[in-house]
């Protein structure tokens, strides 16, 4: 298996390199998306002949007084995205058992903390530094030197919270049995390497953004870059660490392991929904793209449709209004709309959300049936629907909005007469994204497992990670059953 993985990765990297060689010059309009801005908002990442870095901000403002509102917009959206960490913590905590809640809270707090430091040290430089062959960025380490600039810092904080989101998704998939120290190691790998490199390919001016189909691979706010990366690494983690004790009967039949708090799970879902209004609309990186209103509407409608669809499917199946699956459905709709949110109209967002709600149910049940234990449904929510989001963009993009700009060329999908080009770019991107993250994830978890040990001892798992790894039961005043 290891051999297979290595080969895949090498192939993938070669694909990347060759694509750069082949395409780099061919595609005149190939823009690193985030660098492109509407005319009213100058690029946050300055071009080659950089002006002097501006740590105070006065000279940047002088170039365009309209930047004040762009900064407000991007920062407020970044804050909302940050708050999603609380949402993930609550959803994961709520869907797991009381005896592991301190552990999950720590994981969610520390992937933000460690992820911040990792992305600060190297991740940001890899993702947005000066491009090398379409594969990797190479400057801005530790935000030193020329990176001490208000525009760079602004981009950093926004991208950082995205990186932390990718990292935190995994903690749900491997919950209730992963060693905490291994989790810290994994977090470094994701935030400093796996996420930034792939991110560079799509958002940092790398090769995927210059694919010679459609306008290159597009992913508005990160169905792929953030969610599929997180979901695929999570899948790798769930496979390598194996299922929880009791998840499968001797005969392989999956058992339900109910989560300890539906109120926290629902709260977390609301927080995520709320934060997603920063995630998607904020990804314009400019308030001067009034398209943000359309993005906000689409985000909300897809979430609503995802919840309704998941609830409906489950009701047909079991005559119960299944809260866990409904909450997953809402999140599935949000993940799916993340890539296409800027390029589709409201009815399409509803359709994308409905499909996402059905997909998440099928995916959750399928994964359990093949023996993968993902306690909170992270792989189905973020992985499966990350892929669906990327693809749906190639279908529903309606040709009213360009490549992070209101200017032509506009993005047009199959259903709107844009031909299959964009769809092909999306499928390629989705495949590369999944492979990259899944294979790297397998490597990271296998290496940790072989060298350090990935999983807690059986008694620790049975008595709860809280008592053993943290010494602090989450609810010491309550009479706990399991």
């Amino acid at each position: 298996m290891r051999r297979l993985m290595l080969i895949t990765m090498i192939l993938m990297l070669m694909l990347g390199v060759s694509s750069v060689n082949l395409w780099a010059e061919d595609v005149p309009g190939s823009n690193p998306p985030l660098v492109e801005q509407s005319e009213t908002a100058p690029p946050p990442l300055p071009a080659e002949e950089d002006p002097a870095p501006d740590p105070g901000g006065a000279s940047t403002l002088k170039t365009d007084p309209g930047l004040a509102v762009d900064f407000v917009w991007v920062l407020v959206c970044a804050f909302l995205v940050f708050f999603m960490q609380a949402g993930f913590a609550m959803v994961e905590g709520g869907f797991c058992r009381a005896k592991n809640v301190s552990n999950l809270m720590m994981k969610n707090a520390m992937d933000m903390a460690i992820g911040s430091l990792g992305y600060f040290a190297v991740g940001f430089a890899i993702m947005f530094g000066a491009d090398k062959m379409g594969l990797i960025g190479t400057d801005g380490w530790f935000l030193l030197g020329d990176a001490y600039d208000v525009s760079k810092y602004q981009l950093f904080i926004f991208q950082l919270v995205f990186c932390a989101t990718a990292a935190t998704i995994v903690s749900g998939a491997v919950a209730e049995r992963l060693k905490f120290s291994s989790y810290l190691l994994y977090t470094v790998a994701v935030s400093a390497i796996i996420y930034p490199i792939y991110g560079h390919w799509v958002w940092g001016g790398g090769w995927l953004s210059s694919l010679p189909f459609g306008l290159g691979h597009l992913d508005f706010a990160g169905s792929g870059v953030v969610h599929l990366v997180g979901g695929a690494v999570g899948l790798a983690g769930a496979i390598v660490v194996g299922p929880r004790f009791g998840k499968f009967s001797e005969n392989g039949k999956p058992n339900a392991i109910p989560g300890h708090s539906m109120s926290l799970a629902a709260l977390g879902t609301f927080i995520l929904w709320f934060g997603w209004f920063g995630f998607n609309p904020g990804s314009t990186l400019s308030a001067h793209e009034l398209r943000i209103a359309v993005i906000a509407v689409n985000t909300n409608l897809a979430a609503a449709a995802g919840g309704v669809a998941a609830m409906g499917v489950m009701y047909l199946k079991s005559k119960k209004f299944d809260i866990g699956m409904t909450l997953n459905g809402i999140l599935a709709g949000l993940v799916a709309i993340t890539a296409p949110c800027a390029w589709v109209e409201a009815w399409a967002a509803v359709v994308i959300g409905l499909v996402a709600g059905v997909l998440v149910v099928l995916s959750v049940l399928f994964l359990e049936n093949i023996g993968v234990d993902d306690p909170v449904g992270a792989v189905s929510v973020h992985g499966t629907n990350g892929i669906w989001g990327l693809i749906s963009l190639g279908l529903f993009a309606d040709g009213t909005y360009g490549n992070y700009t209101t200017e032509a060329p506009y993005v047009t999908g199959l259903f709107y007469g844009g031909g299959a080009g964009q769809l092909i770019a999306q499928v390629i991107g989705a495949a590369v994204c999944f492979l990259w993250a899944f294979v790297l994830g397998l490597i990271v978890f296998k290496v940790i497992d072989a060298t350090y040990g990935l999983r807690v001892q059986p008694t620790e798992e049975i008595e709860g990670l809280d008592a053993h790894e943290h010494g602090t039961p989450a609810y010491p005043n309550f009479w706990i059953l399991k």
Binding site: F95, P254, N255, A256, I257, P258, G259, M314, K317, S318, K320, D322, G324, M325, N328, V361, V364, L365, E368, G377
Partner: protein
């Protein structure tokens, strides 16, 4: 003296307690237990996966009384706790040899 232990439905507790109080037996210990008997469990589901709760929540009531009061107590509980469907619960009687009141040190029947 005897200990009367009754397993009853959660929602019947208020009625049983009131009935006992009317008869003049205020002292009791109430424990939240999970019971299993002929009553069949509830099918539940979590994130699409079904499971059965075989153990159902019940209250266990323990009352220590003089031997001669056992009959009345049992009768009172049976009347107040019965619904007629499975899961109504059971009553067990068992001997108690000594009783002490911690506050005063009184013993046996004086301590009840």
């Amino acid at each position: 003296m005897q200990k009367v232990t009754a397993v009853i439905r959660l929602e019947k507790f208020e009625e049983v307690r009131n009935a006992l109080e009317r008869k003049g037996y205020p002292g009791m210990m109430l424990t939240r237990i999970e019971g299993h008997g002929q009553q069949k469990g509830l099918t539940q589901q979590f994130r699409g996966r079904q499971y059965t709760i075989e153990m159902l929540p019940k209250f266990k009531l323990e009352i220590v009384v003089k031997d001669e009061d056992v009959k009345e107590i049992v009768q009172t509980i049976i009347e107040a706790a019965r619904t007629g469907s499975t899961g109504d619960g059971k009553i067990f009687v068992s001997p108690v040899t000594e009783v002490y009141r911690i506050r005063t040190g009184e013993t046996n029947e004086a301590a009840l």
